[in-house]
């Protein structure tokens, strides 16, 4: 019988501990410290690497034998499935938002632009890595073609897939948008991008983690702020699960 109060005391202490932890995690101060730490890493990375510091590129024989598909690996939308079957003949890549000359490019037009090929490592936030050869157009080239306006501060990628019922999207700042290795890839290891890896286009932002590498990209949007987009976090995972917007750590 003497065991009962002690047990409830222990349970009470555990609950108190858990709620104290929850309070620490949710408190505004803690969130501000987390944000400052994240910003600090970004500022330090930029200071050390410069705006154009390149991520490591690999030799063809260093590629992983396959490239894992993660997150959405298929898109349910019937128009998408129809286009997938036809090699994306009628699929348009839009460049819009704060641009003077909005674009809607076909896959053939995108392939006709200057291309960059890079063999890079993809690092998932969970910890695993895969290496593949990507080919595509530099995002900076597309933004110049569309005459992006000076007030644009972020580039938002709109995706065709719904992940957990929500449209996937991501965003980067103008430094990463104009990084030489930031490309809209349409080929992986010399083949058209497979569906599981984001056909017809996925982003490559080589100094950040996998959740930034938006797949099934339909539109590239220049904005001053992403407060009005989604829940304002700047990306699906940022909104849905509180992931760090700067994914370079």
């Amino acid at each position: 019988m003497a065991d009962l109060p002690r047990r409830s005391l222990l349970a009470g202490m555990a609950a108190l501990g858990a709620s104290a932890c929850a309070r620490i995690n949710d408190s505004e101060t803690t969130q501000e410290v987390f944000k400052a730490a994240e910003d600090g890493h970004r500022v330090l990375h930029r200071a050390l690497a410069g705006k154009q510091g390149l991520a490591k590129e690999f030799r063809p024989d260093q590629r992983s034998p396959t490239f894992r598909g993660n997150g959405s690996v298929t898109v349910a939308d019937p128009f998408y499935q129809d286009q997938l079957a036809q090699g994306f003949a009628d699929w348009k890549l839009e460049v819009r938002g704060l641009v003077d000359k909005p674009l809607a490019l076909s896959l053939a037009e995108v392939k006709g632009l200057p291309q960059r090929t890079q063999i890079t490592r993809h690092d998932c936030v969970e910890g695993w890595s895969a290496i593949g050869e990507w080919q595509g157009v530099q995002l900076g080239h597309l933004l110049d073609m569309a005459k992006v306006r000076k007030e644009a501060r972020f580039i938002v990628f709109r995706c065709a897939d719904l992940y957990r019922g929500q449209p996937y999207y991501e965003s980067i700042d103008m430094v990463d948008a104009y990084h030489p290795q930031t490309i809209i890839a349409h080929a992986l290891n010399g083949e058209p991008l497979p569906e599981k890896n984001g056909a017809p286009y996925r982003m490559r932002i080589e100094r950040q983690l996998g959740y930034k590498q938006a797949k099934y990209v339909q539109a590239i949007e220049a904005v001053t702020s992403f407060e009005q987009i989604g829940q304002g976090g700047g990306g699906f995972w940022e909104d849905y699960a509180g992931y760090q917007w700067y994914a370079g750590v």
């Binding site: 690497a49 992983s64 100094r207 509180g242 750590v249």
Partner: protein, 242 residues
């Protein structure tokens, strides 16, 4: 003269908090992909050299699986940890703590020196010795010289952002997945040191108090090495090796 310099004490407690949070949030992050690989890439559990257990909630920060929050804690505490490692190395080189207490000589690595240190540490009057014994020098030297820098550098190498400023870093570890594996191994090395360190510290609470107050250093010179003519063993009639 205090036994522990202010820089040592400050770093000790800041680092203690940092490594506890880093370790426990690291176990939460480990739960996200419980397989370790060697080389530049690795995603297929069939290629893993180690399948890691799922760490229970009581061992992780936060106490349930939450990769975003665990990374928030990890990324935040990486700052005091990383700056602290640089700070304590500079302070130790500056104030002579490294040269005096941690730097080993070849004679410290002999089995005889190790046995003598263990005997001195476990027998009566343990702790009364002057300075650090060879085992302490080797253990602390291993932590400062190997484990802490390894944690810091492998942590930086795992971050994709480091590719932009130090692409050589990931090559130093022969790949990001190797760096990740070494990060995991070194974390458990530090955990092992932590357990031994606490067990030995709680045998004498004054040691813990001294790490707060600084304590008083025993400034008496160590007893001079006995000269052959003074050695009792050299005296007539006393066997050299009893």
């Amino acid at each position: 003269m205090t036994k522990h310099a202010l820089s040592t004490r400050l770093w000790h407690w800041v680092n203690a908090i940092a490594i506890i949070v880093l370790f426990m949030s690291g176990l939460n992050i480990s739960n996200a992909h419980r397989h370790l690989y060697w080389g530049h890439y690795g995603f297929d559990p069939a290629d893993a050299w180690l399948h890691v257990i799922r760490f229970p909630g009581w061992a992780t920060i936060p106490g349930h699986y939450n990769l975003a929050l665990a990374r928030d804690w990890h990324i935040t505490m990486a700052w005091p940890f990383g700056i602290g490692v640089l700070f304590i190395w500079i302070a130790m080189l500056w104030n002579g703590h490294f040269r005096r207490d941690l730097m080993t000589a070849p004679r410290d690595w002999t089995p005889g020196a190790v046995i003598a240190s263990i005997k001195a540490h476990s027998g009566a009057g343990a702790g009364a010795h002057h300075g650090y014994n060879p085992v302490q020098k080797i253990l602390y030297g291993g932590v400062f010289g190997v484990l802490l820098p390894l944690m810091l550098l492998s942590g930086l190498a795992i971050s994709p952002g480091s590719g932009g400023y130090a692409p050589w870093l990931v090559d130093l570890f022969a790949g990001r997945q190797s760096a990740r594996s070494l990060h995991f191994i070194a974390a458990w090395g530090i955990f092992g040191f932590f357990v031994i360190h606490i067990l030995l510290a709680v045998t004498d609470w004054r040691l813990i108090l001294e790490m707060v107050t600084g304590g008083k250093r025993d400034d008496r010179d160590p007893p001079p090495p006995p000269q052959p003519e003074n050695l009792p063993a050299a005296q007539e009639g006393v066997p050299a090796h009893g």
